[in-house]
Symmetry: C2
Subunit: 143 residues, 2 copies
């Protein structure tokens, strides 16, 4: 299993948005921009609605790729970015709690989230990292 180095972990924990790519039934790419966090060496994302296309796709084909814009740029001014390739498994429950935790970074400290009474338990996607790429200090010693 590939492990993110400290620079890669910092990108994710900074609240960078995750461009989460799954594969549709017809083989075309599907992209959603979501919040993700780290749970040990895995990425985790929370989904209140289990009928989402991305969850449907991940149940059929667990291969997932997630890209993030990073801090800094290379020598010629092209922005650093982190790409995480992995395999997802979906578990039931815990989505409101994870969304609340992520909202503290993605929206701001003190945010109450989800902003609804009695949210459904939802689903969590746990992504085991298989490869780290992109352009930046996370590609050195990370693969």
């Amino acid at each position: 299993m590939a492990v993110l180095n400290e620079a890669g972990r910092q990108v994710i924990e900074s609240g960078a948005l995750a461009h989460l790519v799954t594969i549709n039934d017809d083989g075309s790419p599907q992209v959603s921009v979501v919040w993700v966090g780290l749970d040990g060496d895995e990425l985790v994302s929370a989904h209140l609605d289990g009928r989402q296309r991305k969850l449907h796709n991940l149940r059929r084909d667990p291969r997932v790729t997630v890209s993030f814009e990073g801090p800094g740029a290379n020598a010629i001014g092209m922005r650093n970015y982190l790409v995480v390739h992995g395999l997802a498994r979906i578990t039931e429950g815990g989505a409101p709690e994870l969304l609340h935790a992520l909202a503290q970074t993605y929206v701001g400290p003190g945010t109450v989230f989800p902003p609804m009474p009695d949210p459904p338990p939802g689903f969590i996607a746990h992504i085991t990292i298989t490869r780290v790429g992109g352009s930046g200090p996370w590609t050195r010693g990370a693969e």
Copy 2:
């Protein structure tokens, strides 16, 4: 053909980074973060090196999805984003000129790009838009 509305065009012309997704030989997603511009109703990106994985992929399967972080957020604080689905065709030449033009937005006015003498002619990917999605004012009246 789907056409971007003005709000969608503004996201791209603002210099938002493009998370460009192609499909690898084994059906898994490949992501690169690149610069893109508009040429009429098409997206265009420039590539000096014709051996790039993304160009290889697009020659085999022209389906491409490009996501951008947009300005603003929805009512519950989730950031707007633009997703463009399309079909790419690759043409030879013109990459240095397009990169130079894009660098004026992505790096800054007056940037000399590519920063090398005698760059190769390279390749341009022209993406015809088939569908516009994501979350933001570009999904209203755009599809």
